[in-house]
């Protein structure tokens, strides 16, 4: 009985769980509307999705697009539209991808209550079927030229059939000049004749002959003259299948018997191939990000295989990191405006710059090429000797760098080598030697960077000194011209004080001028700039004393009604305070400016004057009866200042 009950309870619980699960799945079917970013394309998206175990799985129609009318009307707009379907988070079914670059054309029209703005530009459109994220069926790529919203021409057109990502049968790629027709085997290998026809004319211009993915020969026809190239593969080498793309074309360069035979690679056929593959790379970036598999088609060719061993891979790794570091140093130095100026006047700087230039152009540049091959994934398909001959046509460089080509005409011929140059003993042309070259280049750049760094630092401090001295002169000029401008209007006592400020400035300036140039001089100049600023402030404070006295006088005036005259008359208030200011404090400040003035005291004197002035303005409205009593017969300025509650700033600092 108990067992029966348990079974019933278990069944009920299971039913509930199943029902709950179904309802949860149903509830998680959702539509997303909002911004989305895919492989750098940012736009407004609408798609269906479901949440399974916390993962968002796209399922159903998907659409993302971006177009900005405002941007189009103002300048130009880059638009895009991707639309298709997903099944279990994988693109499935018909897809269309559009990329437009438009400017607004001439005029607009209203159609069915909508404004239509005519546009000019280019629209790229790729459309085809996708199965499990891979091209399946016919894919068309079109690049249309648009004028006033009409297609005026097609600059590129590609039509390829795929089966589960593998091209099958014949294909056709054309641009405005020519059309390329060829075919693939069922397994996706290029096969037979790939023929390029001239536009409108059926005469064949270029023929590439493949056999099971191996390009055997090339025929070109120019003005009736037929030229044939045969590829010079290493017979001993194993052939390996690679994807058709730019890397393959680069690798082909090393399969020719001579440099002349490479000219077929500059023809129209490889250009069309590259254009086509780069479109598919673009689609691949997008589909790979939104889907779960790589979209790039399996069109295949074969190349001789020279795999990199682990040592070579390690050398490549070294080269990559060292070249990257060296590049950042050389970029900074070559682009430094300060160094570019300094090298015009400084021989050592010019020398350093030449070293950086030489290393950058003659050492790093070939290494960049090497790394670019690595990036295309073709190093495994190039014979090392041919690779090195391509990278270092005249052999790896010497540790003693001749700078003649990079020094100015007339400059002494100089060389550069690292102090530890003898430790670098590369010989021959291999990746190990290239790795050492990279290391030497990096160390060389680091040495030069240090040397130039010191020089630039010195130059900087000299420039700073120059700026400081200019400021000093300006400050002194400003003080002198201020004194000249106010001198005539001032009472003699004030003028005398001003002259002593000016005299101190002159004295300090000539003392500074007589100091020899040492590393201490910028510090001195900086201090003197501070001093001159204070002297300027003090000068102006002395110059404005009469105005301040007037302001105080006016502030201590009150309108008093004289009933006998029936006139409001001005009455001087708190005469003891104003008199203490005029007769005790002002002469005291003027005297201080003459007798106790130095760079150290200038600020204090000026501040006391300013504080006193502010205090005087405030005292007018305060109850000052006691103060006025105490001020009677008081003529000691320090006591007066104390009575005014003005501390000596010098004592405050202590």
């Amino acid at each position: 009985m108990i067992l029966f009950r348990t079974i019933i309870r278990g069944l009920c619980a299971t039913m509930l769980l199943i029902l709950g699960g179904i309802s949860m799945i149903q509830a998680q079917e959702n539509t997303y509307r909002g911004p989305l970013r895919i492989a750098g394309y940012e736009g407004e998206a609408v798609f269906q999705y479901r949440i399974v175990e916390g993962d968002t799985l796209r399922n159903g129609p998907f659409r993302i697009q971006k177009s900005d009318l405002q941007s189009l009307l103002q300048n130009e707009d880059t638009s895009f539209l991707f639309s298709g379907d997903f099944k279990d988070n994988t693109p499935e079914g018909a897809w269309k991808l559009r990329f437009g670059s438009f400017t607004s054309g001439n005029g607009s029209e209203v159609v069915d209550y909508q404004y239509r703005v005519l546009v000019n530009g280019v629209q790229e459109e790729a459309s085809g079927l996708v199965s499990e994220g891979r091209p399946n069926g016919t894919w068309n790529i079109l690049v249309n030229q648009i004028e006033n919203s009409e297609i005026t021409g097609t600059s590129f057109k590609s039509k390829i059939d795929f089966q589960n990502g593998v091209p099958k049968g014949s294909f056709q790629i054309e641009d405005t000049q020519s059309t390329l027709v060829g075919r693939f085997l069922r397994n996706g290998l290029a096969h037979d004749q790939w023929a390029l026809y001239g536009g409108g004319d059926t005469e064949i211009e270029e023929d590439w002959y493949f056999k099971d993915g191996i390009l055997e020969r090339v025929e070109t026809k120019n003005e009736g003259e037929i030229t044939e190239w045969r590829l010079n593969y290493d017979e001993k080498a194993d052939f390996k299948t690679v994807k058709l793309g730019e890397g393959y074309l680069q690798a082909l360069r090393f399969q020719a018997s001579s440099k002349d035979s490479l000219s077929f690679l500059k023809g129209s056929l490889p250009k069309l191939l590259v254009q086509n593959t780069s479109f598919y790379h673009k689609l691949d970036t997008i589909f790979t990000e939104i889907g779960t598999t790589a979209f790039y088609p399996e069109w295949k060719v074969k190349l001789p295989y020279y795999p990199l061993d682990s040592l070579e891979k390690a050398h490549l790794q070294n080269i990559r990191s060292q070249v990257s570091e060296a590049k950042s140093i050389s970029d900074i130095l070559l682009n430094s405006s300060q160094l570019n100026l300094l090298k015009l006047s400084d021989e050592e700087a010019a020398y350093g710059y030449a070293v950086v230039q030489t290393i950058s152009e003659e050492w790093l540049q070939p290494l960049y090429t090497l790394l670019s091959y690595e990036g295309l994934g073709v190093l495994d398909y190039i014979q090392r000797s041919k690779l090195m001959a391509d990278i270092w046509p005249v052999g790896t460089p010497s540790t003693t760098i001749d700078l003649q080509a990079y020094l100015e005409d007339g400059a002494t011929d100089r060389t550069f080598s690292l102090p530890n140059a003898e430790q670098f003993t590369w010989q021959g042309n291999d990746l190990q030697a290239s790795s050492q070259v990279a290391q030497y280049a990096l160390q060389g750049l680091q040495v030069i960077e240090r040397q130039l760094g010191v020089k630039l630092g010195k130059q900087q401090s000299q420039q700073e000194l120059l700026i400081l001295e200019e400021r000093l002169i300006r400050l002194n000029d400003s003080l002198q011209s201020y004194i000249d401008s106010v001198g005539n209007k001032l009472p003699k006592s004030h003028l005398k004080a001003l002259r002593s400020v000016s005299a101190l400035a002159e004295k300090q300036l000539s003392a500074y001028a007589s100091v020899p140039e040492t590393s201490e001089k910028p510090t001195m100049a900086r201090e003197l700039v501070g001093c001159f600023k204070e002297l300027n402030r003090l000068g102006r404070a002395v110059g404005t004393l009469p105005q301040q006295s007037d302001s105080i006088q006016k502030r201590y005036v009150d309108g008093v009604w004289n009933p006998f005259v029936a006139v409001v008359m001005e009455e001087q208030l708190k005469k003891r305070i104003t008199s203490a200011y005029q007769k005790v404090l002002v002469p005291y400040f003027l005297n201080q400016t003459q007798t106790s003035l130095s760079c150290e005291t200038a600020a204090d004197i000026q501040q006391r004057m300013e504080q006193t002035y502010r205090r005087m303005l405030a005292l007018r409205d305060e109850d000052t009866k006691r103060l006025e009593r105490k001020l009677r017969k008081e003529d000691d300025p320090e006591t007066v200042l104390e009575l005014f509650n003005l501390e000596n700033p010098a004592t405050e600092h202590e």
Binding site: G559, P563, V565, V568, M569
Partner: protein
């Protein structure tokens, strides 16, 4: 503002009403015999020392406190003169605006008998109620003033048991103050002040001598501070004798004035001093 105006108006009405009430009082008529031609007595010389106090007691009210010492020449004191009257005039004044003020108060004057031969009393008091309306107007750098002063006056003779007689005095004075060493009247300024005052009188005792006094003065003043001024001047005056309208007395008076206007209010109540209508 409107309330203030109404208040001022009522205040003025009260002052006038008081004045006119006293003006219609009955007066005793005296018999007199007029000469065929007006007779001018020889002028006497007098010296007056007057202090004028004007003490602010609120924003608009002030206490007018005047004390005058008036000396009259006698035969024994031809120039220095002898004390004739001591004069105490007080009033509460109201400042309506910078251009108008009014006062109401009382006067007690002590009259000294300057006739050495007189057997009568040496000192008798005289009482007055007075009100005054003064207009002040700027004119260029000068000020001009019109003063209307009405006094209700009870006087008695020096004779023992003499009765008080009641008279009204109707006074109008025109005065001008012109700064001499400054572009406006302000402290440290000398000013010259010509003035003319006509004093008319009425009352039962006044039968044929309505013109009590016509005073023509020129004063030189000095404003020491807004609260203290000094002035000195010479006044010529003439007027009908009460007892006989045909006889005119004359006088030359040296006048010395001190004007003071202390303000004992606390600072916070003083400010702002000049904006009466704020």
């Amino acid at each position: 503002m409107r309330t203030t105006y109404a208040f001022h108006t009522i205040w003025l009405c009260v002052l006038f009403t008081i004045g006119t009430t006293f003006g219609i009082s009955a007066q005793e008529q005296e018999k007199e015999e007029l000469p065929l031609e007006s007779k001018y007595k020889d002028p006497v010389t007098r010296t007056w020392f007057n202090t004028y106090g004007n003490i602010r007691i609120s924003k608009r009210l002030f206490w007018d406190a005047q004390t005058h010492f008036r000396f009259v020449e006698t035969e024994s004191t031809p120039y220095l003169s002898q004390i004739g009257q001591i004069y105490n005039r007080h009033a509460i004044g109201y400042i309506y605006s910078k251009k108008f003020n009014a006062s109401l108060g009382g006067v007690v004057r002590i009259n000294f008998n300057t006739d050495p031969a007189s057997p009568d009393r040496n000192v008798v008091p005289e009482w007055r109620i007075w009100h005054q309306y003064q207009f002040a107007l700027p004119l260029g750098s000068s000020m001009i003033y019109h003063r209307i002063r009405i006094e209700h006056r009870w006087t008695q003779g020096f004779a023992e048991n003499s009765d008080y007689i009641f008279r009204n005095r109707w006074r109008y004075m025109f005065r001008m103050k012109t700064p001499l060493n400054n572009h406006k009247l302000q402290p440290k300024t000398f000013y010259i002040s010509p003035e003319a005052e006509l004093i008319m009188q009425s009352g039962k005792a006044v039968v044929a001598s309505p013109m009590e006094d016509l005073r023509i003065t020129t004063t030189l003043g000095y404003i020491a501070t807004p609260r203290l001024s000094f002035a000195a001047g010479l006044m010529y005056s003439q007027g009908q004798e009460l007892s006989n309208g045909g006889i005119y007395k004359q006088a030359w008076t040296l006048r010395f004035h001190m004007y003071f206007s202390p303000d004992f209010r606390k600072v916070k109540n003083k400010l702002p001093e000049i904006h009466f209508n704020d």
